[in-house]
Structure formats: structure tokens, C-alpha cells
Amino acid sequence: MSCWARVKCKIVIKNDASRALLRRALEVIAKKLNSEVKENFLVVGYGRERRCQFAIPKRLTFGNAIGINITADGRIELVGDFHGAFNLVQRVKRDLERTYMALAIIQSAQQLGWTVNVNEVTEGIVIDLGVRR
């Protein structure tokens, strides 16, 4: 019994800048999972496999990794055999979206010449931006 699934994220990858940001966000997530980011990785599940643009190798009940693909319309999908690991995958999805948002805000603010200060608090991630005149 397996549970091959595709979980869609809110982020849309439009260009090289957003792809580079996705890679950085994935590296943050992989580090939290004591893993790393692989590119062009074969994600294997119970009787099924799929090559993914990115992957975070992780021993799951039937799967070998959490695969990450960018669809034709730029959406991000988490792909793999998530049997028994659905909570983990939902957490990865949420963490990926939040990390991507935080990195995007930091990068945008720096491009605007603003100062940036980041803190992780109980409520979430606080980004304090100093707006110069």
C-alpha cells in the first residue's frame, strides 16, 4: 500500500530570480531535515518513480525523498510516496511557503535599499524593515 501524491504550493516560479530563491528556501528546509537538496533526482515510491527537478532525500515508509517539481504554469508541487508521512509533507509545504516568503521579502527590501532585521518568534517570522527616505 502506497500513497503517491502531489501537493501544490502557493508560490509561482516565474523567472531565474524566483527559481534561485526556491533553491535557497529548499536548502533551509533540507537543513532542518538533516538532509540536502539534490537536482534532477529520481524519487522512488512503492511500485512507482518519477524524476524531479529538485528533491530532499529522506527515508519515508515507502519513499526515498520528497520531490519538488515546477509545473508548466510555474506552480510548485511536492511529489513522492507520502504513505505514513503526510503530516511531515504538510509541514514541509507550509515551511517552504513561509521560508520562500521571508527570503523574497528580505531580497526585495534589500533591493529597495531598506534595512532588514529578522527574528523568529512564537507567532512566526518577524521581518523589521527600515525604510530610508
Binding site: 502557493k10 508560490i11 509561482v12 516560479i13 516565474k14 523567472n15 530570480a17 524566483s18 530563491l21 510555474g74 507550509r94 511557503e97 513561509r98 520562500y100 516568503m101 521571508a102 523574497a104 521579502i105 531580497q107 526585495s108 527590501a109 533591493q111 529597495l112 531598506w114 507567532e123 512566526g124 517570522i125 518577524v126 521581518i127 523589521d128 524593515l129 527600515g130 525604510v131 527616505r133
Partner: protein
Amino acid sequence: MRRIKVLIDRKGKIIVDAEGFVGPVCVKEVDKLLSSLKELGLDLDIEEHKLKPEFYQRVEIRKEVKVGE
């Protein structure tokens, strides 16, 4: 110092709070940030927009003109 505080909560909701601005400048600065985020694939919908009393304050510009000197 003019500041924009952004909170990304545990569910991924973003709450923006602008401090130290007078007049509609805060809206312009937040818009700058939002359009920059759009380029990075984050198209954020504003669900709720609360304007603080400072938004309605006028920026006074004084100019002294001396005549006949």
C-alpha cells in the same frame, strides 16, 4: 525612523504594519514592496486594510517668501 514590520504567521498569513509615516506615503512604500514581491512569484492579495490616524494627517510644507529685498 520609518519602519514596516512584516509578520509571517505559522499558517503563512502575512500581516504588515507601517510605523512612523505621515500621510499616504506608507501605502506607496508597501506597494513598492508588493510589486517587487510579485516579480519573485508572490502575488499577495490584501484581505484587510486598516488605515491608522497618521494616514489622515497632513504634511505641512512651509515656504517663506520675502518680498521687496
